[in-house]
């Protein structure tokens, strides 16, 4: 599958977050970024259709909306 290259400039904090996610998710940093892109696009397309993204507290069953622009 042909791939295109992009250079990503990240702050220290961003790189730190990326590295921690990479460890937690057992993914390379590149794979984390690609995964984030997939998730972002999926969520965005559903919000565009009028759906809402909610978090639910398992214990209390309270729901809170994730505000995405």
């Amino acid at each position: 599958m042909p791939k295109r290259t992009m250079t990503l400039n990240l702050t220290d904090a961003e790189m730190g977050a990326l590295e921690r996610l990479s460890v937690r998710k057992d993914l390379t940093k590149t794979a984390v970024i690609r995964q984030a892109l997939r998730l972002y696009q999926t969520v965005d397309s559903r919000i565009e259709k009028g759906e809402k993204l909610l978090f639910e507290n398992d214990a209390t069953k309270e729901k809170a909306e994730l505000m995405l622009l």
Partner: protein, 210 residues
Amino acid sequence: MTRSVSHIYLLEVATGVGVEAELRDCIEEAQLIDWQTKWQPILIAAIKDLSRRGVARAQWPQSWHWDWRAKIAQMEGLIAFKGFSVICADVTQGLMRVDLNGLGRAPGQEGKPLVYVDYLEVAPWNRMDMGQTPRYKGVGTALLSAAVALSVEEDFRGRIGLHSLPQADRFYRDRCNMIDLGPDSGVQGLRYFEMTPEQARIFLKEEDEV
């Protein structure tokens, strides 16, 4: 969109012979036409017959009302979803849609990304539950292998997850050695299975012996 074609083999049940087939990492119009004009008429006829013979619904082929055109339309333009198809003798033998947003639930895999199998269906003439000898075996397994291979390619280490159609529970548990996480109340009580990286490694391993 570039598509990849893997040359695979299916078992032709009538002759016991291996036949060449293609595993493609896409579902195109030709596959949807096959689904509509070749799969659907057989499924509808079978359902009518089962209904007339008074067979309980629980025993009907369980994915008979799936609309593959709708499933493909839903994933239009979204990079998180991928379609796969198996073609043999120029006819679509099986279809699968996967979601790369899935996260693991099995012990040790919690929160780790996996390839989730949204839908996997083989053509009605390849099914065991329609009262006739199936034409080809290996279609479902080929699609499952594709999901695992994709997971490896995407750095998910071969992790996959799926909700099993009830007739296939034993296959995933005993043949594929997937972890059975039990009935999922959020998904109509279907059993949820996951394959760990280690199980995936064994599943895909290249030796001739299984």
